[in-house]
């Protein structure tokens, strides 16, 4: 572990001018085989350790691997880091590192005007130009006019740097991403040791590979340092941050850790049943590694089975969790309806992706909110919580488990591709500070000598969780309507109406246990509210900041609980003459807010498989403000 603040980069550093920057957005792009995700990860960690605030966005190609060198095969990783707090990976890169023509072709359009483009010159040969679909060489034909271009023969230098290590040329070439990493690390004064330590850990047992990587990395670093090519390097000071121990974390990992934490804090075993699907598979992968935490993971034959298995585990006394994405949510609907009437604790994670149908499996979207609300036949209410940032997935998972266990109900957690894949620094919570959850398993009769499986806690309307093996609490429950209290099958008209209302009220009661909706309204006299949910949090806060910096006033609020809403939600949305709801869908939260509170909330929608851009939202806010 390193102390915070920038560990002085090598002294020689100072021989070149150093320019200070508040924030930088870098995009590493190359062929799927070029290891850009790893390069990005390493740069991210060095940056994190250095104390910058940061946000990342990996952007892989579609599921099937495209032929090397083609535009479909391009894999990119974007990071924004800053000396003040930032909330998104940035709309437009200031720096693009393009390892081949295809990468340049695919990514150039997003680079800011006048931005920096660093290309691996060696890759710009005819074959690659053809594959990328360049008629002429973009390095020559003016394509890059207006950009600050650095042509670096990365491959050849790398090969030269490692040749004495006796690797094949092919192996040698593979280290060129380390060269790029080294170069950019120098440009932004990233500490070398973090990366070298990591390489040590990773390749310690393969000295040759280790040496090659280090050699390439240093070659890149020194190339920046020594050649005339680069006149300036940049300094991005650490961002002020609450003191504490930090790590960089992705939404997928945070969600997995949150589930494990909830299991630990409730003393209930975690049982995760899932069927693989992009982008939810990561959760299965992460949890299946944590068997020594007592985590049981089961890869089911399909999503219906996964839901049924998790529900069975819940009946048996485990924390039953199942995770999937849109198509799998459709399939789980019937089983979730059963879970609603069985009133058992269960958590369903929906890592949303672009739909409808198979849609764009690797792209992000927030199109499943109304599905989560209404995607079951009959009156079948379920609580919904949504994470707002990668690290927040941790808290969201715990909150979902708290609700599920406390109220004996299935709970839906909404994440999305963007949250799952991107990462941010996370101040580690003190384990003992995490909430504890009391499963309150039933141990004996609850009505004199009788045990009534549907007799409720007057506070929470929770019914007893009486697990098999508990002496004398034998009971049978099922999907048919149940008599209030006894749980016996009932076709009685009034009973059905009563039970329908009880199931609805139970969910509403959860609002008693959740914090009010917080409004960020610095001067307290904004006339407009931007209300969000899910991964648009960062964009909304950043856009609002810009709007405020431009001298306007705007309030923001972000819903974590989508069902039930915090109790003050109606009051909050009615407080502002103008309400704007930005969503990565066609206006799903907007419908819920309008229908429930009758406020004329306007929708700002983006359905492109991409996160919202700050500049677009900023513009929209100003428009709605004046309009």
């Amino acid at each position: 572990m390193l102390e915070g603040g920038p560990p002085g980069a090598p002294a020689t550093h100072m021989t070149k001018t150093v320019e200070e920057k508040e924030r930088v957005v870098i995009r590493f792009a190359g062929d799927s085989g070029d290891g850009m995700q790893l390069t990005g990860d390493r740069f991210t960690n060095a940056t994190a350790v250095l104390g910058n605030d940061l946000a990342t966005l990996p952007d892989f190609p579609a599921e099937i691997r495209a032929p090397a060198g083609t535009v479909h095969g391009v894999s990119a990783f974007q990071i924004q880091f800053s000396s003040r707090d930032i909330m998104t990976p940035g709309d437009h890169p200031n720096v693009l590192v393009a390892m081949n023509p295809a990468a340049l072709k695919a990514e150039l359009s997003t680079v800011e005007k006048g931005g920096t483009v660093i290309v691996n010159e060696d890759a710009f040969v005819q074959r690659n130009l053809d594959k990328a679909g360049f008629a002429t060489d973009p390095l020559e034909d003016g394509t890059l006019d207006g950009f600050q271009v650095f042509r670096v023969p990365m491959t050849s230098i790398t090969v030269r740097a490692v040749e004495q290590l006796g690797l094949t040329r092919k192996e040698a070439e593979r280290s060129k991403n380390m060269f790029a990493l080294g170069l950019v690390s120098w440009m932004y004064g990233r500490p070398m040791d973090v990366t070298i330590n990591w390489l040590q850990k990773k390749f310690g047992d393969k000295p040759q590979v280790f040496d090659a990587n280090v050699a390439a990395f240093k070659a890149g670093y020194n190339f920046g340092e020594t050649t005339e090519l680069f006149a300036t390097s940049y300094l991005v000071k650490p961002a002020p941050a609450t003191p504490g121990l930090y790590r960089n974390i992705s939404g997928a990992t945070a969600l997995a850790l949150g589930l494990v934490a909830a299991a630990e804090r409730s003393g209930v075993g975690l049982f995760y049943a899932s069927y693989p699907i992009t982008p939810a598979s990561e959760l299965l992968h992460e949890l299946s590694r944590l068997k020594n935490f007592g985590v049981m993971t089961l890869q089911a034959e399909d999503e219906i089975a996964a839901a049924g298995i998790a529900l069975g585990a819940a009946f048996a006394g485990e924390l039953g969790v199942t995770g999937t994405s849109g198509p799998g949510m459709d399939l789980k609907a019937e089983t979730l309806g059963l879970a609603v009437t069985l009133e058992l604790p269960m958590v369903i994670v929906d890592v949303q992706r672009a739909g409808p149908s198979t849609g764009m499996p690797t792209k992000t979207e927030a199109g499943d909110l109304l599905l989560a609300m209404y995607g079951r036949h009959g009156e079948s209410p379920m609580p919904i919580v949504a994470a707002k940032s990668p690290s927040h997935c941790f808290d969201t998972a715990i909150e979902a488990c708290r609700i599920a266990i406390t109220y004996r109900t299935p709970v839906i957690v909404l994440s999305d591709t963007y949250l799952a894949n991107s990462s941010e620094p996370w101040r580690l919570p003190d384990v003992d500070s995490l909430p504890t959850i009391d499963p309150k398993f039933a141990t004996g009769p609850n009505a004199g000598q009788e045990f009534l499986p549907y007799l409720r806690d007057p506070e929470t309307f929770a019914r007893p969780w009486a697990i098999p093996g508990t002496p004398g609490l034998r009971h049978r429950i099922g999907g048919l309507e149940k008599e209030d209290g006894t749980g016996d099958i009932s076709y009685d008209a009034e009973n059905h109406e009563r039970m329908t209302h009880i199931r609805a009220e139970k969910i509403e009661k959860i609002a008693d246990s959740i914090p009010p909706l917080e409004v960020d309204d610095p001067d307290g006299d904004a006339q407009m509210l931007v209300l969000g949910w899910g991964s648009s949090y960062g964009t909304i806060r950043a856009a609002a900041r810009r709007v405020r910096e431009a001298g306007h006033q705007v309030a923001t609020a972000h819903l974590i609980h989508l069902n039930p809403f915090p109790k003050n939600t109606g009051e909050v949305v009615r407080r502002y003459p103008r309400v704007l709801i930005p969503e990565m869908n066609m206006g799903q939260l907007a419908l819920m807010i309008r229908g429930r509170y009758l406020v004329d909330a306007k929708s700002f929608t983006k359905v492109q498989g991409l996160p919202l851009f700050i500049e677009d939202l900023e513009a929209e806010i100003v428009k709605v403000m004046d309009g």
Binding site: N45, V49, N292, A305, P468, T470, R474, R476
Partner: protein, 356 residues
């Protein structure tokens, strides 16, 4: 605990308290719910036999779980004074898999029907069999959809005229035993609703089996498919047609006048005992590869010709839930019981000190 239990009336208004192991009786497994099958339904006989058999296992009702799907058969769960889940259509094997894999201490039984288990639930059934989850699956095969009032099922004979097939069904039915064997089942048996003794002995072997036991029970639906199995039970045909399998014994039937013998290419044939040499007579073997069991399953095309009942197959294989647990224990041994704090701190971390 048992005395505590004695004082406790149990769920769903069931009146009777659990009895300690020693004193378990049929009554200990009988819930207070009024049984609501049609008068004359074969399900009554199965229920009575199961309830009288359970005490023999010496497992408390409190440690027993019945899981069922939807169908007349699905109501079974409500009549057993155990823990129970009446799930949704076709999904009982999945729900039961969740229970059995997370709780090896429980005795978990699945009750399903030919529609519930083989039509909508076919996928969960074959995967449960493949995995060898610790479940005892009782499939009540009445060759009809009873609860929905008489449509044909995946086990109905071809040409079946029902509400949904007024001109006769055109699908070829499943042979549940063959399907189970094709799905790598480790225990496969067939028995009859009203043959208390045979049903009991099959249940006993199923209960002893470690892993998934698949038991097809021919069950009469006297309302929508009456007499479907008469040729296997009524005198005299029953005697002629029932081939009772017993491990290690030559396969003889029809008062030992007929047998199952090995024909050319290893094919099995039904023959008259006096027409084949004794060593061509097949000796039933539940173990080893499933080919013999499969051949026996295909001796007849339906319950109207010589048909095998009894245990077709029984083999040892790792039990799914146990193997999962073993990994958890192994991992815990190797890596030590996970520490949440350490887990959170894993990977590169850095400290921001107040000074900054």
């Amino acid at each position: 605990m048992s005395d505590e239990r004695m004082e406790v009336a149990n769920g769903n208004g069931s009146a009777e308290a659990g009895a300690p192991v020693g004193t378990l009786s049929k009554k200990s497994f009988t819930s207070d719910q009024e049984v609501r099958w049609c008068p004359g339904c074969g399900d009554y006989a199965i229920l009575a036999t199961v309830q009288s058999f359970m005490p023999e296992l010496g497992i408390l009702p409190d440690d027993t779980v019945f899981v069922s799907g939807i169908g007349c058969s699905g109501r079974f769960t409500y009549y057993m004074d155990t823990y129970g889940v009446h799930g949704i259509h076709g999904r009982a094997p999945a729900i039961a898999t969740g229970i059995a894999t997370s709780r090896p201490d429980l005795s978990v039984w699945v009750v399903t029907g030919d529609g519930d288990g083989l039509s909508i639930g076919g996928n969960h059934l074959i995967h449960a069999l493949r995995r060898n989850v610790n479940l005892k699956i009782l499939l009540f095969n009445n060759q009809i959809y009873g609860l929905t009032k008489g449509q044909y099922s995946p086990t109905s004979e071809e040409g079946k005229v029902t509400k949904s097939t007024p001109f006769g069904s055109v699908d070829h039915p499943f042979n549940p035993i063959a399907l189970a064997l094709g799905a790598e089942a480790t225990f496969v048996a067939r028995t009859m609703d009203n043959d208390k003794q045979h049903l009991t002995s099959v249940l006993r072997q199923a209960a002893q089996h470690r892993g998934t036991a698949f038991v097809e029970i021919y069950q009469n639906c006297n309302v929508f498919n009456d007499g479907a199995f008469d040729l296997l039970r009524e005198k005299p045909q029953g005697a002629h047609n029932q081939i009772r399998l017993e491990h290690g014994k030559p396969i003889l039937f029809d008062e030992d006048t007929r047998c199952v013998a090995v024909g050319e290419n290893g094919r099995l044939v039904v023959a008259n005992v006096d027409e084949v040499s004794p060593d061509d007579i097949v000796v039933h073997d539940m173990h080893g590869r499933p080919s013999l069991a499969f051949a026996l399953a295909h001796l007849s095309h339906g319950p109207n010709e010589p048909t095998c009942i009894g245990v077709f197959r029984e083999v040892e294989r790792p039990v799914y839930g146990e193997a999962m647990r073993a990994q958890v224990e192994l991992a815990t041994e190797r890596l030590g019981r996970g520490d949440l704090g350490a887990l959170l701190r894993s990977g590169d971390t850095w400290t921001v000190s107040a000074s900054v």
